[in-house]
């Protein structure tokens, strides 16, 4: 989407062939190379980019991890995983070529000698494979490993690129657990890499529909004039999943729904929906507008939190007709856990455009249906003509579905056929999967290509992350406060959350949208 400060001179032979920045040959060094993320997402994504012919041929992958392993063993493991998790069938001839660009480097994360030998190896790869000194370090590890890795990268001189080349780092979420830890994490990252070298990945932003929000809003002249408090009544953002903690109890117990989903993914979506048009499509122009929204989120005082935020935790229930245990009975969860698996919020953006428009956010596990969507509810037609009866007409609702069935729909009123004058809501529906047969690339494919191309648009900037924590922290603090602690409400698995969440909207005369 954007041009970065490192944009290379243009290759005239690329004209008309690509509408995006072309990734440059580089070495991708993955820390945590034997972990789940590498196997399930990163290597399959790189393979798919290669199979689509979009990977620079010289691109090289070096897996960095603790376990002793040969290049060949590492390739074999990754091949098995890619065959299992790749979105397209693995072709032997393409995999064989791709595998030759994959290497393994064994070292402890805190062992300086391992980084020295990594530097030598990367130098050799540059010479042999033509990667031009470009390096992309991917930290697919827990945040507590960031410090030793980044410190050692710096000491080995790997954080600096030679003239005409670049060095970048991709940091996986979570970006801290609160404002203080996020600042500390950013301080650690910035000791080795500057902000324009840092790419904080939020895979939600790599999704086609998330990217389409800006296109919908700013490439269609009909929406922008009505995208404000004069016409919009309220907005809902929902991220529902049928799954429980699924073996992530260790992480989830310390995080909860607010930190796990709202602080990053849902606030990012909120920004895309609420932001002003950027001056251009440059990464910083877009991120400048997004950060203004996070800054404009009205902070809540302790006494306001209970009124505007509802926490829930799923109890025993059923999903798709099958009984499932309650959260506290899940493996790895404390029997008296107070971690929320559901949260509903009413937030306000104090800016000119949406000052009077409440934004309702809900996210939860073990809800009846999985789906992520944004719905913009427009104000009703004036109470005259068709709208003056006791039962007034429905609102127009624009729904942007992020997953699983990506698309956009618009609800409007229509006269039912017949001699009577009955008006009913109808839906105009656009489905990506129906209109475009070609499958979208996985979010990680898009984001990896962007990082290789130096396009940071879809990555979170330091101030975005920190401002988001500044908004979230008071809520988290209220939940552990000794006095006036807001309640944690149970809801049966397979329901749409606690009743208190419905009441949150009912007080405003509204209801959650049925997904």
């Amino acid at each position: 989407m954007s041009k970065s400060s490192e944009t290379p001179q243009t290759n005239p032979l690329r004209e008309g062939l690509a509408t995006r920045a072309v990734p440059q040959a580089c070495t991708v060094v993955i820390f945590g190379a034997t972990g789940d993320l590498t196997m399930r997402k990163l290597i399959p994504a790189l393979y798919n980019i290669a199979a689509d012919g979009e990977l620079p041929p010289a691109m090289t992958v070096v897996g960095f991890a603790r376990r002793p392993k040969t290049d060949e063993e590492f390739r074999k493991e990754q091949e098995e995983a890619t065959r299992k998790f790749s979105r397209q069938t693995v072709r032997d001839e393409i995999w064989n070529g791709f595998a030759q660009s994959v290497f393994y480097h064994q070292s402890e994360f805190h062992d300086a000698a391992g980084y020295k030998s990594l530097a030598e190896r990367l130098e050799k790869i540059d010479q042999e494979r033509g990667t031009g000194g470009n390096r992309l370090f991917y930290l697919a590890v827990a945040p507590d490993q960031f410090e030793p890795i980044l410190k050692n990268l710096k000491e080995a001189g790997l954080n600096k690129a030679r003239e005409g080349s670049w060095a970048r780092v991709i940091v996986e979420k979570p970006f801290g657990t609160d404002l203080a830890s996020a600042r500390e994490l950013n301080r650690i990252v910035h000791q080795a890499f500057s902000e324009d070298q840092t790419y904080r990945i939020d895979h939600f932003l790599g999704k086609e529909t998330a990217q389409n929000i800006l296109v919908l809003r700013f490439a269609n002249a009909i929406f922008e004039p009505i995208w404000n408090g004069r016409y919009v009544d309220y907005i809902q953002i929902t991220a529902a999943e049928t799954l429980g903690v699924e073996g992530r109890a260790g992480y989830y117990e310390g995080a909860g729904a607010l930190r796990d989903m709202v602080q990053n993914h849902l606030l990012q979506l909120l920004c895309l929906v609420a932001m002003e048009p950027p001056t251009d499509l440059g990464a910083d122009s877009i991120r400048d507008e997004k950060v203004k929204i996070v800054r404009s989120l009205r902070r809540m005082k302790q006494d306001e939190i209970a009124k505007n935020v509802v926490r829930g935790q799923y109890a025993e229930g059923a999903i798709n007709g099958k009984p499932v245990p309650g959260y506290r009975s899940e493996k790895g969860v404390k029997p008296d856990s107070k971690t929320e698996t559901f949260v509903a919020l009413r937030v306000r953006v104090d800016d000119w455009r949406l000052a009077d428009v409440p934004i309702y956010i809900r996210v939860g596990k073990r809800l009846p249906k999985s789906g992520t969507e944004i719905s913009v509810h427009f104000k009703k037609a004036p109470p005259v003509l068709f709208n003056k009866e006791a039962v007034s007409l429905d609102q127009n609702v624009l729904v942007i579905r992020i997953q699983p069935d990506e698309g956009i729909s618009l609800r409007m009123q229509a006269k039912m056929p017949g001699t009577s004058f009955r008006i009913e809501p109808v839906k105009m529906d656009f489905h990506y999967g129906t209109s475009f047969g070609k499958a979208s690339p996985e979010a990680y494919e898009r984001l990896l290509l962007d990082a290789m191309s130096g396009d940071a648009t879809l990555f979170a900037r330091r101030d975005e992350v920190e401002e988001a924590w500044a908004f979230i922290d008071p809520l988290e603090e209220a939940w552990v406060a000794k006095e006036n602690q807001p309640g944690l409400f149970e809801y049966p698995a397979g329901s749409w959350g606690p009743e208190e969440a419905d009441e949150l909207l009912a007080r405003d005369g509204r209801a959650w949208r049925r997904l």
């Binding site: 290379p8 001179q9 290759n11 005239p12 032979l13 690329r14 004209e15 008309g16 062939l17 509408t19 072309v22 440059q24 040959a25 199979a51 689509d52 012919g53 620079p56 041929p57 010289a58 001839e93 393409i94 070529g97 660009s101 010479q127 494979r129 033509g130 031009g132 005409g164 699983p404 069935d405 489905h431 999967g433 129906t434 209109s435 475009f436 047969g437 070609k438 499958a439």
Partner: protein, 354 residues
Amino acid sequence: MIMPNEVAQTFSPGLPVEIGKIDRELKKLWAESGSEMTRASLINLAVYSEAPGSLPLNTEIIFKITEDHACRAIVISANPDAKENRVEAWISAHCHVSRAGSKQICSEQLSFLLEGPSAKLLPNIVFSQLDSDLPFYLWWQGEFHDPMDPQLWAWVDRVIYDSQTWSDFRAQMQRVETAQGDAKQRIVLCDLNWTRLVQFRLAIAQFFDHPASHHRFEEIERVEIDFAPGYRSTALLLAGWLAAQLHWTLEKDSKDNTLVFRDQSKKTIQVSLNEEAGEPLGRCVVNCGSIEFRVAHSANADLLDLAVEGSNAERKCLMPAGSNDSVRLMSEELMRGGPHRVYLRAMNSVRDLL
């Protein structure tokens, strides 16, 4: 309806209908299909052919194209030279299971057989069947001939043709450009012969992506292009692309298969075209003196072998080659879109040789 499991047996154009009742019959068709099928359309795609027996062939092509590109297809088989007047129409739907796997996504096809004087009804038939507000792409198979109907061209957003099949490129192009000028609207010219080059262009371009390799443009001394019999125009377009993008001008002393260009510093670049049985484009070698960039179509595979040799930089890798069939070329063309300015420049730089 043509359903996926019937594909192997036949590609009939569908249910015969009276032209005046097409709309009604289509509504009936959808009403009978139930809620498991969703009609989808992003473009109007009219396919015109004068080749005998083109209807079943184009029906098969449309079936495959609609897997990725939902459209309203208007397939016309015409024989203007027939003595007897004949007009027939059919309707059908091509259905594919959606990516989510829950629904059948269907595109409509309207087919027409026009013989004798009725062949002149083409614009009228096309106009009356267009899905409103959707772009109109006209895929003209074979040669254009006079008179080019200005009424029809005025409605076209993109005209798609394959210049590789033309017997006289200059005469054909002149007709197209005249029609384009008369239409008084921007019609994008889409040449499938140009689309055929996409993978080769991508493969060659990637050699020069790194800014440190840009100086190689000035070092290009020689280019060799192997092409299959009948595909000289494809090879010429590839040479034209390099020339146009790198600002080379064609020298007058160019011969049939040895083209001589001069770059901005007046250095000579020789482009040799070699006819060899095989893929339309078999190989392209760009020689920069000390270093050579090579792209070759792998034998019996839909892959391109890329290699860099010389200057201590030896690298090899594979890229998708695509295939030369109409479905792939059309899908590629429909997916890429764009104004094709580079095509016009490439074509114009070797126009006299095409």
